[in-house]
């Protein structure tokens, strides 16, 4: 990879600007192994937080497919690890780091990092966790750099970015994010394609009868129709990623386990705010969240942006029974009627996708998938877990994580 920090003839500030410009193409260039190793260390370094106990890896546990390991809807951060967050922690595997947010030709919002697409690339994304009050909660870049300068990989940092790198806090902070981006963008553990399904695609293993049935139900437009948003077929010879990186509004019920929801006026509206600010006027997008990959989904313990569900079966039941049995998911209004889509201000309820299968059904109708069919779909989704070992028939995303050499 082109390493702008080694450019001898440019003033630091210009280098920073250049780096920012080149960050967009970071994903494409294979990174320097030294840089990846450094990034892996920063990713795991709990000393870089205000609490001294939280690293990127605390929420994005490499052994859990770089997603949260626990079943809390949201994680807590801050100096005492007591400040609650707002969204469930996504897996960092199979991110499309090459796709800053844009509107496709037909108007479909697509790409970007975070559940609302507000970060254009990994370097930009890595800024927030270091400062957010509910995450690592550092006061500023200088606070982070101060800790970097005392880490056990400090010499390596200097070797890569120059002996006096810590003299300029902004530049050093940028360098740290640059290394993090190189790690997340280039280390094989983020894209191992080592699931049973991948072996099946490569004709190295067979899927069982329930797994195959589940796969067909997942794809069928008249059943799950899941592949409409979570594509399951190879594109241009690349294995499927089970997301089209688009955004949709599923009308997920409000999760009162998130402390912020105690405030009745609080709504997490995804694309139109509050974390994302540039699309606030696009009220038609309020409530839309990014389609996540379903690779490793069976290793998760909470589901959807607000972690509303804690089992895969309940998640899929919600998909197929949201409209046939709304009373199961939403609270009753004072007049006794069901208040559907209760995690949206009433004016935005019409933004919810009610036209596409499987949620195009009527109340009292039969769900698109029966209980037995849901079991088959879960059997199939379980083949998407990384680190499959054909000898034991088990999968564990931790198997893909290489130990960090010095």
């Amino acid at each position: 990879m082109h390493n702008p920090f080694r450019s001898p003839c440019l003033a630091r500030q210009i280098v920073v600007l250049l780096c920012l410009a080149s960050a967009g193409v970071l994903h494409a260039a294979p990174a320097d192994p030294e840089l990846i190793r450094l990034g892996a260390k920063i990713f795991r370094d709990t000393s870089l937080s205000a609490s001294g106990k939280q690293a990127c890896a605390s929420c994005h546990d490499p052994a859990h497919a770089h997603a949260q390991a626990n079943d809390a809807a949201v994680q807590s951060g801050g100096a005492a690890l007591a400040v609650s967050g707002f969204r469930a922690t996504p897996s960092l595997r199979y991110l499309n780091t090459a796709l800053p947010f844009f509107f496709a030709k037909d108007g479909t919002p697509t790409g970007g990092l975070n559940r609302d697409g507000r970060a254009a690339d990994l370097v930009a994304q890595a800024q927030r966790p270091f400062f957010a009050a509910h995450e690592m909660a550092n006061a500023d870049a200088a606070a982070v750099v101060d800790k970097l300068a005392r880490a056990d990989y400090t010499e390596q940092f200097r070797a890569i970015f120059g002996a006096d790198i810590f003299a300029d806090a902004e530049l050093a902070f940028f360098a740290a994010r640059y290394a993090l981006a190189a790690y997340q963008g280039s280390a094989p553990e983020f894209r191992p394609f080592s699931s049973k399904f991948d072996l099946f695609l490569a004709r190295k293993t067979a899927l069982s009868a329930p797994e195959l049935r589940g796969f067909a139900l997942f794809n069928r437009a008249d059943k799950g129709n899941c592949a409409a948003c979570h594509p399951s077929t190879p594109r241009d010879g690349a294995p499927p990623l089970f997301t089209d990186y688009s955004y949709d509004n599923l009308g997920v019920p409000r999760n009162y386990a998130i402390p912020a929801t105690a405030e009745t006026s609080y709504f997490d509206l995804g694309l139109c705010g509050p974390d994302r600010t540039d699309l606030a006027a696009r009220t038609d997008l309020c409530g839309a969240f990014k389609v996540p990959t379903l690779r490793n989904v069976a290793s998760r313990r909470v589901f959807f942006h607000n972690g509303r569900f804690d089992s895969l079966s309940e998640t899929i039941e919600f998909y197929v029974q949201r409209d046939t049995n709304p009373a199961r998911w939403y609270p009753a209004s004072t007049d006794g009627s069901v208040r559907k889509f209760d995690d949206l201000p009433p004016a935005y309820a019409r933004n919810v996708n009610t036209s596409e299968a499987p949620y195009n059904r009527q109340q009292g109708g039969s769900p698109a998938l029966s209980a037995a069919e849901i079991d088959d779909v879960i059997a199939f989704l379980s083949t998407l877990t990384d680190g499959y070992d054909p000898a034991t028939g088990t999968a564990d995303p931790a198997r893909d994580v290489a130990p960090i050499a010095d």
Binding site: F200, L212, R213, R220, A227, T233, G237
Partner: protein
């Protein structure tokens, strides 16, 4: 593997039907034939050894048509022998076929209107295509031939139109009646693929069999040997690129509309690991009659493993006949295709709407009657019956998970071609489908069109 029995059966049927002597004692046709013979002889004498340019710019079949002049008109739906095939080959001998270094241009175009009767809101008018072709003669033996096409009026990143090169090849005569071509060439199968100018077929739209099954305009890059004999047999053998099954999209409808049309590569950065070969022949030894057929085969996985298609082979075989007794113009065609080793790929497409078919086929019979002629103009009503199936069989899948073969689509087309002259045609027809399928655009409709060539 091709279904040899059905192919040869079909051949037999055609031959049987046509075995009765062609009542080609049609005075007009004979006179025309004589005139053409004389013209060709004169030209032959005049332009020493310019065998190359006596061929129609378009095809080997036409090369035969001109050298064995008796049936020059056969390849044209136009009522007179003046369709571009012949007009071009005789006049272009003067215009372009002459001097080394000369370049001639030609072209055609068509504008269509489709009106589905049940869904008038889907009625559509389209500048279907405008084509400019050129023929540049380097010397006695060598020329370069190209066809540039624009579809749907406007081609840009934000528009639906396409701009494409349909043919571009260098041709070199090796002897009096055989030669070699290299470049992007039309695959010489069927009646329409090489003769796709609007005056050369009946009906506003090209027939379904030769668009859904033979994906007209089908072209591949490669090398071909072509030639013809005094007895009226023309032949063409080629080796080159083939379709790429690796780009099969099981989630979209294109593969159901035309299995090969959805995976042909048009020499656009074509994946070219596996060569395909083809052989085709046409016999025009009896005035008014054309009998022909061909086979195309090759591995089409192009080494792609996602989806796992690297072992898949396409074999497509086709027979056709055309007979023009008196004012009548009768034709028939049968084509069948098979793709092998589709099971593994389809296992990765379980539940998707468009798995890869194992078999697909189509056939049609068509009769036209040049009922009224006055001056340059001709009014020709026609009737065509087509049956085709783009997925008549799929490879077996685990029980309960396999896809059902598609129903066979049967289309009647009745209409009129009004040739203002041999190069300008106005068309009207009505089409009836036995299975309406909105996604694929199958449903009763009437069509209007205008086409020209020069």
């Amino acid at each position: 593997m091709m279904q040899r029995t059905s192919l040869s059966l079909a051949t037999l049927l055609f031959c049987g039907a046509l075995a009765a002597p062609a009542h080609a004692d049609d005075a007009a046709l004979r006179a025309e034939v004589e005139a053409l013979r004389a013209e060709v002889a004169a030209l032959k004498a005049e332009v020493h050894g310019m065998h190359l340019q006596t061929a129609s710019p378009a095809t080997a079949a036409n090369a035969t048509a001109t050298t064995s002049a008796p049936v020059a008109a056969t390849n044209s739906a136009a009522p007179t022998s003046g369709a571009r095939d012949v007009a071009a080959s005789s006049s272009s001998n003067n215009a372009s076929g002459g001097a080394a270094g000369s370049t001639s241009f030609w072209g055609y175009g068509e504008l269509n209107y489709n009106h589905p009767t049940a869904r008038a809101a889907d009625a559509q008018a389209d500048l279907r295509r405008a084509v400019l072709g050129f023929n540049h003669v380097f010397d006695d033996a060598t020329r370069v031939y190209g066809e540039l096409e624009w579809e749907h009026a406007i081609a840009s990143a934000d528009d639906k139109g396409e701009s494409e090169i349909e043919q571009l090849y260098v041709e070199h005569a090796l002897g009096a009646n055989y030669g070699v071509r290299a470049g992007l060439m039309l695959v010489p199968l069927g009646l329409l693929n090489e003769h796709h100018e609007p005056v050369n077929y009946y009906g506003v739209e090209r027939n379904y069999v030769e668009t859904a099954i033979i994906p007209s305009t089908w072209r591949e890059g490669g090398v071909a040997l072509y030639g013809n004999t005094e007895s009226g047999l023309s032949w063409n053998l080629g080796i080159g690129t083939g379709p790429n099954l690796g780009k099969w999209d099981a989630t979209a409808s294109e593969g159901r509309e035309s299995p090969l049309g959805s995976i042909h590569q048009e020499l656009q950065l074509a994946k070219a690991r596996d060569p395909s070969i083809y052989a085709a022949a046409n016999w025009q030894g009896v005035p008014g009659l054309l009998l022909g057929g061909g086979v195309f085969t090759g591995k089409i996985g192009q080494g792609q493993t996602a989806p796992p298609v690297e072992k898949s082979r396409l074999t497509l075989g086709e027979v056709h006949a055309r007979w023009q007794p008196g004012p009548f113009d009768l034709s028939a065609l049968y084509v069948r295709g098979e793709i092998s080793h589709t099971q593994d790929a389809n296992l990765t497409f379980l539940g998707q709407p468009t798995p890869v078919p194992k078999e697909f086929w189509g056939g049609y019979v068509q009769g036209a009657w040049r009922a009224v002629q006055w001056g340059e103009s001709t009014l020709a009503p026609f009737l065509r019956y087509e049956a085709f199936n783009t997925a008549s069989a799929y490879a077996a899948q685990p029980q309960g998970l396999g896809a059902m073969p598609l129903p066979t689509e049967r289309v009647w087309t009745a209409g009129l071609n009004y040739f203002l002259n041999s190069n300008v045609v106005f068309k009207f027809d009505y089409q009836h489908f036995n299975n309406a399928d909105e996604e694929l655009g199958y449903g009763k409709r009437f069509n209007l069109g205008v086409g020209y060539q020069f």
